[in-house]
């Protein structure tokens, strides 16, 4: 630590490299500090390996690379968050900033600004925002939790000052940024321009990662960051007394995080080619979870930026596994992440307890009692982690046995679409014609894990006709049933002015619905996707009412 911090040093010197190597060597004996990181890495790769055994499609290297492609924005943001958490703080405003960066860049591009100018401006905005929040935290001693929470509300609210609706991005530069495929040497055929590839933002995210690693581990700045957060945040006063620039470092850290979130927002906007104030809703939780799973302690001062890479990776693997499984619903991601976090935190607190126990045993005579207590706690933590792992394996096993009959065959027949259905265009014209010819309800459902496409028409006399994409289906219900159904739908306020046509971005694994109801001389149409937040509150109730009467409905499609 002492070496290489002399005044008037150049950016790089032999000394630097030597110090770096020496430091690497120094770190190995204290391998314990790497346990959480290693655990994450091993677990992530094991999970991927297990997935590859069960789902042959996952053996495609591109699936592996896609984890980074889909989560590049998460990685960028998580790197910034790691620094903030290392100082013992937290930043909840990242998701708001991502949404704001997306909306602002989309709006500016719509006005015909130059794409590069927009990107620079957005990054500057992110840094200014971060600096403001950071200053409030550093100089007025407001809790980071509260200050960044307010920051999130401000950022998300500002999005809607810019635009209520999603703004599409049609800029050529942004399109190129999103569509460019960087072929990977060895896994691709450059002459044919085919093979496995990464996107530009994967490269950008790794550059950010490397830069942050350099900053934290090889610069004075990083040393100060660790000093502020050390000893569960209680070191801040000591750092101040040592003469370290605590306040300015804090401001810098939040500024860096603001930069990262703005960059992540641009990455997200390029990914979906649009900007909206509801994008990245709740992403701060994913970001924080990745950082924690990467081995960084939320109390500050412990962890490595590099670990965050694995944290993001494990999140991505979880999502991929759930997608490939097909029978598990999207909310399982949340539960699995929660369980994984519990496990990592358990490991961390076990290590902390061991360290503390060792210190106490050396300092005290009554080591026997302490170690007994410690052993009990270790047992508790190990037992808990074991139980969680068992539970996780159990869940996966159950879902596998319940999975689409013979995972292998299902995979080979529909490999490209397996778990990754894009929603098909709704067959609106067909529905319109049917309604004109007397149907009271047209109900379409498509997408979902098995890529279905169903369209049904319900007539007032109880006749239900339709097709499930392949075969024609017919069923006779009683007119009374149809009447009750319509009355139920009316009860929900569908024939008031509140109901309107709505549409929002499809998600993977979701079903898209298209429902037209003709009643009381009014025709109302609603389009939507389940699992979304902005569908009208009663919309899914109508879907569940419809599912009850429509033929061929089963709870698990």
């Amino acid at each position: 630590m002492r070496r290489g911090y002399g005044p008037n040093r150049g950016l790089f010197s032999i000394e630097d490299v030597a110090a770096a190597l020496g430091k690497l060597g120094d770190l190995f004996p204290s391998y314990q500090r790497f346990i959480p990181l290693t655990a994450t890495a091993v677990l992530a790769l094991t999970a991927y390996g297990v997935g590859a055994i069960f789902y042959p499609a996952m053996r495609d290297p591109q699936v592996f690379i896609n984890i980074f492609r889909n989560n590049a924005y998460l990685l960028i943001s998580a790197v910034g968050m790691t620094l903030v958490i290392l100082t013992g703080g937290i930043d909840l405003s990242v998701s708001g900033m991502m949404a704001l960066a997306g909306v602002a860049s989309a709006a500016l591009l719509r006005e015909g600004w130059n794409a590069w100018a927009v990107i620079l401006l957005i990054l500057a905005m992110g840094m200014a925002f971060g600096a403001t929040v950071g200053s409030i935290i550093a100089y007025t001693k407001v809790q980071p939790f509260i200050a960044t929470l307010a920051g999130m509300w401000v950022a998300r609210g500002l999005c809607f000052f810019i635009s209520d609706d999603a703004i599409a991005i049609r800029d050529r530069t942004f399109h190129i940024l999103g569509a460019t495929k960087i072929l990977i040497p060895g896994l691709s055929d450059p002459s044919a321009k085919q093979g496995d590839f990464v996107s530009i933002f994967v490269v950008v995210s790794f550059i950010v990662l490397a830069a942050a690693m350099y900053l934290t581990h090889y610069r004075r700045f990083g040393r100060t960051v660790y000093a502020i957060g050390g000893n569960e945040g209680r070191n801040e006063q000591s750092a101040r007394l040592m003469g370290l620039p605590v306040n300015s470092t804090k401001v810098l850290v939040y500024t860096f995080n603001g930069f990262c979130s703005a960059l992540a927002g641009i990455a997200l906007a390029v990914n979906v080619m649009s900007g909206h104030g509801l994008y990245a809703n709740g992403a701060e939780l994913d970001v924080i979870a990745s950082v924690v799973m990467g081995g960084t302690a939320l109390s500050g001062g412990v962890g490595y930026v590099f670990g965050t890479l694995f944290g993001v990776f494990i999140l991505g693997v979880t999502q991929t596994l759930i997608q490939f499984n097909g029978t598990l619903s999207s909310w399982w991601t949340r539960i699995v992440i929660g369980l994984l976090m519990l496990m990592f935190i358990g490991v961390q607190s076990l290590l902390a307890a061991r360290k503390r126990g060792r210190g106490q045993a050396a300092a005290r005579e009554d080591g026997a009692r302490t170690s007994a207590a410690m052993r009990r706690r270790r047992l508790l933590i190990l037992g808990g982690s074991g139980a969680i792992v068992a539970l996780g394996i159990g869940v996966i096993a159950i879902s596998l046995t319940r999975g689409p009959a013979g995972g292998e065959t299902a995979d080979t027949t529909s490999t490209p679409g397996s778990g990754r259905c894009e929603l098909k265009p709704f067959r609106q014209d067909q529905a319109e014609i049917a309604v004109e010819t007397g149907a009271v309800i047209a109900y379409e459902r498509n997408g979902g894990p098995n890529c279905i496409d169903e369209l049904y028409f319900i007539y007032p006399d109880g006749r239900i006709v339709g097709d499930d994409g392949v075969n024609k289906v017919e069923k006779q219900a009683t007119p009374a049933e149809v009447d009750t159904l319509l009355a139920g739908i009316k009860e929900l306020g569908w024939f008031t002015d509140e109901m309107y046509n709505t549409w929002h971005t499809p998600c993977k694994q979701c079903f898209g619905y298209y429902v037209t109801v003709s009643y009381d001389d009014q025709i109302k149409t609603v389009k939507g996707v389940d699992g979304g937040t902005d569908a009208p509150a009663d919309y899914l109730v109508v879907i569940s009412l419809l599912k009850a009467i429509v033929p061929g409905f089963t709870a698990v499609p």
Binding site: I90, L92, I136, T140, K141, Q143, F145, I146, A147, L149, A150, G151, M152, W153, V154, A155, R156, G157, L158, C159, F160, F161, D164, G277, L285, A289, V292, L298, S299, S329, W331, W332, T333, R334, I335, G338, L339, M341, L342, I345, S349, A353, R377, L380, I381, T484, L485, A487, G488, E491, D530, G531, T533, A537, L540, V541, S544, L545, A548, A555
Partner: protein, 358 residues
């Protein structure tokens, strides 16, 4: 002869925990008085009271309930991020128990009648409420165990349930938003007995919490644990049990809030119920003057904090600010309020008072 102290002293008033929250609430009401005509009008319809002021109290009841539990947790030096998720879990459990048919593969033939019938419920209401609250208490116990016995940092320990909880809630209802038609259940959030029924629930929970903390030694124990857990332990307070109690009570409060919220929108919306409410609740407690680091607390001040947050929302709607833009204004107001709370400003106010008094 000793001079009698004046019964009213500026210092005493400013040092009261209620002073700053009340000032902030008064400022919001003053703003409404000037900007929104008729804001203070209260109508009497069928013996029940209606009006913007009542709306603030009624809509703020969820956050008030959360804030009561959160106050105790924050006073022990912790924080509970999972209350929003626990709300969703409680709401899902309640809705499922009232109408489990929605999830069934084999649908009963008279389904349409059953789920539209305002008098239909699968289990009696008291069992529904009891089971939902027990589930919420279990959630609170889980948090308390992690914090007190496994010694995980509170923010991290409760973050686990915050992330997983919403998934669990969706798992319970299988991702379906169960519509609640049962009328007596709707009364919890939408009923009126002169005042909104949910206000009586808040009052009841507040009374229980107040009696528990101010008429027994538990309140002092909680403060003592929040100020210094170790020294409390050495002076014979079972700090682990105190923490466990605080988190369990917070879980219970979140469960009640979940019932109120779900009966208010008549749906078990696992995805949206209680979304970001944990942040509102923490904010309410902070506005109420309880330090995030723990220690002295005031339940009443926290409830006023909740009213302040709801007051901002309601008055912004009254002025005509669009719902989404509201967030930005809320954020700015929060920063202003918190700056108002910083030691510098407080010191300034006190000095000002002392000079005037002298």
């Amino acid at each position: 002869m000793r001079q009698r102290k004046p019964s009213f002293s500026w210092r005493k008033v400013t040092e009261s925990k209620l002073f700053f929250p009340l000032i902030a609430f008064a400022l919001i009401l003053l703003f409404d008085f000037i900007v929104v005509p008729g804001f203070f009008n209260i109508q009497v319809r069928e013996g029940n009271l209606y009006g913007s002021l009542i709306d603030i109290l009624r809509n703020g009841s969820t956050i008030s309930l959360l804030a009561i539990g959160m106050t105790l947790v924050i006073a022990t030096g912790g924080v509970d991020l999972s209350v929003g998720a626990v709300m969703a879990i409680a709401a899902s459990v309640a809705a499922l128990l009232m109408n489990p048919y929605v999830l069934a593969t084999e649908l009963p033939p008279n389904l349409m009648k059953l789920i539209n019938d305002p008098n239909f419920t699968y289990l009696p209401l008291w069992i529904v409420i009891l089971v939902a609250l027990i589930v919420a208490i279990i959630c609170g116990l889980w948090n308390g165990l992690l914090v007190a016995y496994v010694k995980i940092q509170p923010m991290v320990a409760t973050l686990i349930l915050m992330i997983a909880g919403r998934g669990i809630a969706q798992l319970i209802t299988n991702g379906v938003r169960i519509q609640i038609f049962y009328k007596p259940y709707a009364f919890i959030g939408q009923g009126w007995i002169v005042l909104p029924f949910s206000l009586y629930i808040v009052a009841l929970v507040f009374a229980i919490a107040w009696l528990l903390t101010r008429k027994t030694a538990i309140g002092m124990f909680i403060e003592s644990v929040g100020i210094n857990a170790r020294s409390s332990f050495y002076s014979g307070i079972e700090e682990k049990k105190i923490k466990l109690l605080a988190y369990t009570f917070c879980g219970l409060c979140a469960g009640i809030a979940g019932l109120v919220a779900s009966s208010n929108i008549k749906t078990s919306d696992a995805f949206n119920i209680g979304m970001t409410n944990e942040l509102d609740a923490i904010l309410a407690v902070v506005i109420g003057g309880t330090l995030m680091s723990g220690g002295r607390f005031s339940l009443l001040a926290s409830i006023i904090g909740a009213w302040i947050i709801q007051g901002i929302t309601t008055s912004m709607y009254a002025v005509g600010v669009p719902a989404f833009a509201l967030q930005a204004i809320k954020g700015v107001v929060v920063i202003l309020v918190i700056l108002l709370y910083s030691e510098q400003v407080r010191g300034l106010v006190r000095r000002f008072g002392v000079q005037k008094g002298a």
